[in-house]
């Protein structure tokens, strides 16, 4: 996979796109435009949340991820199953140990549960919440939310907890252990995240707050699921493989993280629109007496990720029955290891999360003001219907696109219709001025009646202009 300046897992399959404009309104960062009958994703705006993958009726939005063939490149491989992976499986004889055993049977040399790392992150987060005076603190474990904050809520970056995501911790801890045990070099070990979402794929290829990721590939849960399902019935339970308690596994669904942190006043928000609403309220000073907010882009949490298989509600039930057999407390070993590592700063992000404001009209303030004026004027000339037929998500967005030279007023079907109408009137006017020698005006009715007949079909016309 070649890295572009902005790598995005979410991509468009132009051949399948019918230019229907359904996706443009659902995109939380207004990152999609339809131009010349095809959608286009604006790279600097896209946060890889995968909303468009869910909405596109033609399956033209896809997630680029890695596949199992990548395993061949490494002498030693380790599978890092996301907590949400376990929620994909149902059946009374399914256990976490069996699922982990299945990953080994698929060719991974070892497994390390991201749920185990999630327990470390929970402990580190507890410490951070206790030591910080900033309220509310916002989890940074969902990369789609971190990116959302960078582009739409840059003033809330201070509220993000600067702790690494569980998968990054998992990859590093697993590799360090393997390096020590087998004397291997970092490059000889391939760490593969079994991912619920494109946001995590992007986070692996292009990490935020880390110099480089220890994860070497991200394989969709859907791909691993199909393979595991085939062999699962033949496998023996292997309880020794499983390290995480119910606490870590529950990170895979909404409220699991909040529960693991267990601070005084905590809130869990799932679904990107709900998260946007809450972040907007935080911006105007609300939620200031809340300690910790779990924010997940997907409804139901990671089990609702675009690359999962199971219905998120069923997945939640599955997780509940799977974890019944598990301890409901973190193991003393994990707590002990945490204490040792915490003092070395092992969980901290390595660099700041930078704002990436996308709304700015111009880097130069004076020019931005000029564009703003033009924007207001342009917006006044648009009908305010937010119909999306122009290919921009709203009249406001079209006006912004026009000001930035990315669209013209004629892209608005209503402006276009008015234009056509006045053009027709002009034509008529011209026709009337045809030299008397070739005109037989005296016998035909004056232009007025034609004018009327042009006005009449307006309703039908409007219906026809829907796309």
């Amino acid at each position: 996979m070649r890295l572009q300046p902005y790598f995005h897992s979410v991509t468009l399959d132009t051949d399948s796109c019918k230019g229907c404009t359904i996706c443009i309104k659902r995109c939380p960062t207004e990152a999609i435009r339809v131009r010349h009958g095809k959608a286009r994703i604006l790279e600097i705006r896209c946060i890889d949340c995968g909303e468009c993958i869910r909405t596109c009726p033609n399956h033209a939005k896809r997630a680029i991820a890695d596949d199992f063939s990548l395993l061949d490149k490494y002498a030693y491989t380790v599978a890092l199953p996301a907590p949400s992976f376990f929620g994909q499986f149902s059946g009374h004889d399914v256990t976490v140990g069996k699922i982990l055993q299945a990953l080994l049977a698929l060719g991974f040399t070892s497994v390390y549960e991201v749920a185990e790392a999630a327990e470390h992150v929970s402990l580190a987060t507890q410490r951070y919440v206790n030591n910080s005076i900033i309220r509310p603190l916002i989890s940074s474990s969902c990369p789609a939310i971190v990116r959302l904050i960078q582009v739409r809520f840059p003033d809330l970056i201070d509220h993000l907890i600067p702790i690494q995501a569980p998968v990054d911790i998992a990859a590093r801890f697993a590799k360090e252990m393997i390096m020590r045990k087998y004397g291997l070099r970092r490059e000889e070990i391939g760490a593969f995240f079994i991912t619920p979402c494109p946001a995590k794929v992007t986070a692996v290829k292009q990490p935020i707050g880390l110099e480089s990721s220890w994860v070497d590939g991200a394989i969709p849960i859907a791909d691993a699921y199909a393979r595991v399902l085939r062999i699962l019935p033949r496998l023996e339970d292997t309880p020794s493989l499983q390290q995480a308690s119910a606490i870590g596994i529950h990170w895979g669904r909404a409220s699991g993280e909040k529960y693991a942190i267990g601070a005084d006043k905590t809130v869990a928000v799932d679904g990107i629109q709900a998260v946007i609403d809450v972040l907007s309220e935080i911006e105007i000073g609300k939620f200031h007496d809340i300690d910790f907010i779990e924010c997940q882009a997907c409804r139901g949490g990671c089990v609702g990720g675009p690359l999962t298989v199971q219905n998120p509600f069923l997945a939640r039930v599955n997780m509940e029955s799977l974890t019944q057999e598990l301890p409901d407390k973190m193991s003393p070993e994990i707590v002990h290891e945490f204490e040792q590592r915490y003092s070395t700063g092992a969980y901290d992000l390595e660099s700041d999360i930078e704002p990436r404001p996308i709304l700015k009209l111009d880097d130069d303030f004076t020019k931005a003001i000029e564009k703003m004026e033009l924007l207001e004027k342009t917006l006044d000339s648009l009908p305010g219907l937010d119909c999306g037929s122009c290919g921009s998500p709203s009249c406001q967005a079209l006006a912004e696109d026009i000001v930035q030279g990315l669209a013209t007023e004629g892209d608005c079907v209503f402006v276009l219709r008015d234009g056509v109408q006045s053009l027709a009137e002009e034509l008529l006017d011209l026709a009337r001025r045809v030299p008397g020698s070739i005109s037989n005006e005296a016998e035909t009715s004056p232009g007025g009646s034609l004018q009327e007949s042009m006005d009449e079909p307006e309703i039908g016309e409007q219906e026809g202009s829907g796309t």
Binding site: P154, D155, I157, S280, E283, I284, G285, P355, P357, L359, K360, L361, D362, D363, F365, T366, A368, I369, K371, M372, E373, L375, E400
Partner: protein
């Protein structure tokens, strides 16, 4: 505070309807978008959004309606909030943290902590408030920015 209008590079006005809790907060969020489009510093935007939101809520809750006009100059955001309404009898008191005359109903909606005016003052570089009993209230907030440098 200097006379308004001098040096305003752009101005926006939002009408605020008393008692309209559904639309309440719209002025603050619209202003936020404008300031983001102008590329102002996120912390400056946040302060302007908090001040505007609290002033907006006060007009919705405590007055008979009014408007918020915002002038953006090369180095400041000037927020003027005017309403007609009962006015504030004791401004000193109203500015104290925790002082509120909000009704029980309003408190049940989560307002009435008596933190609005103190938060506006904290967000402002310059702050002034005048009120006439039985006529209305006029609040001026200036927030300095450095985008024009």
């Amino acid at each position: 505070m200097t006379a308004r209008g001098t040096g305003a590079l752009m101005s926006v006005t939002y009408e605020i309807v008393a008692g309209d809790f559904v639309r309440a907060g719209e002025a603050a969020s619209k202003l936020k978008r404008v300031l983001q489009q102008l590329g102002l510093d996120p912390t400056i935007i946040r302060r302007a959004a908090i001040a505007t939101y609290e002033a907006e809520m006060n007009i919705v809750i405590h007055s008979y309606g009014g408007h918020i006009s915002v002038d953006i100059t090369c180095d400041s955001i000037e927020i003027l909030c005017e309403d007609s309404g009962p006015g504030i009898p004791d401004i000193e008191k109203a500015l104290q943290e925790g002082y509120s005359t909000a009704s029980e109903d309003v408190r049940e909606m989560g307002f009435g902590a008596g933190m609005g005016l103190p938060n506006i003052r904290r967000s402002a570089d310059d702050f002034s408030i005048e009120s006439r009993i039985g006529q209305g209230t006029r609040l001026q907030v200036r927030i300095l920015h450095r985008a024009g440098e």
